[in-house]
């Protein structure tokens, strides 16, 4: 008999996928093993991404629920680590929750089914550590309104031809009592401020 701890993430997910519909203990054990490897990563990420701890917990629960219902991770197909795929699921769940709030409560099975595997896997390089620190400090020095608008734009507008959805623009406009052209101006102004911040603090 093999030990589940010796299996790779990909092997565990494959085992869970194969055993899931049979309802075997082995399948559930495989899921428990993969969960034990990544729950703290996902919990930390959700708490970092959402400043509201209840919102973060809800995203954490929904993300794992999505993984349990659609364990489609395949190392060869996705060409990425399990943790990266998991973060992509969390991002899609968060976008779906935004949509549910705007359009009414779509059943979660349907919502997570929309794009559970779709996220960009560009192998873009990350900046030098010093720049990452400066950008993070600069962002945190922005007023909350500017910060939220910047982050929302950047989460949705990935730079690969995807844009901020109209319903999200409307939600931001309503929240900050402003117009769509102003939102973009605020984002551009914040971006210029951050660039200047990084360049002047180097």
């Amino acid at each position: 008999m093999f030990n589940l701890k010796d299996l790779s993430d990909n092997e565990l997910m494959k085992l869970f996928r194969e055993e899931k519909d049979k309802g075997t203990q082995l399948g559930w054990d495989a899921f428990n093993e993969i969960y034990s490897r990544y729950y703290d990563f996902m919990y930390t990420l959700c708490q970092k991404r959402f400043h509201d701890s209840a919102e973060a917990e809800m995203m954490f629960i929904r993300t794992w629920d999505a993984v349990k219902k659609r364990p489609t991770y395949n190392r060869q197909k996705h060409n990425t680590m399990f943790a990266t795929w998991l973060a992509g699921i969390a991002k899609n769940v968060a976008c779906d929750v935004d949509n549910q709030r705007i359009h009414g409560d779509i059943p979660v099975e349907e919502a997570i089914g929309i794009e559970a595997d779709v996220h960009d896997f560009d192998e873009e390089k990350i900046p030098e550590r010093k720049d990452i620190e400066l950008m993070s400090d600069g962002l945190n020095s922005l007023p909350e309104r500017e910060k939220e608008i910047m982050l929302t734009y950047m989460e949705y507008d990935t730079g690969n031809g995807q844009y901020l959805p109209r319903n999200i623009i409307k939600t931001l406009c309503d929240k900050f009592k402003t117009t769509s052209p102003n939102l973009r101006k605020i984002k551009e102004r914040s971006l210029k401020f951050l660039k200047q911040y990084v360049e002047s603090h180097r």
């Binding site: 990420l45 400043h51 680590m81 192998e123 900046p127 010093k130 962002l139 401020f193 951050l194």
Partner: protein, 107 residues
Amino acid sequence: MKEFNDLTAFEAELRAALKSTGQLFPTTDKEVEYFMAHAPKVEVPEKYRTTDFLLQEDLIPLEKVQSKTIDIAHTEQEWAMAARNGKEIPQYILERMHEDKENASKK
């Protein structure tokens, strides 16, 4: 250090930086690895250390999610400290960040 030729180039770098620090969701292995190596760990409540909650509970309806605001200033300072290998942020940097924030509010 890398120069930012224009705003578009800077935006791409900024996006990668924010994904690496978890302020946006990371989407590449490098960003996830950076996050795992540098993010200050958050204590996971006992109820989420096993998968029992996935068996026992239905999903919480969105309207019942109670807001509990996290102390942002505190968590951000922890993050900034972690990025500096646990060293305290010098007072002059804290003051400069505070000034920058005030100046940005005035604009």
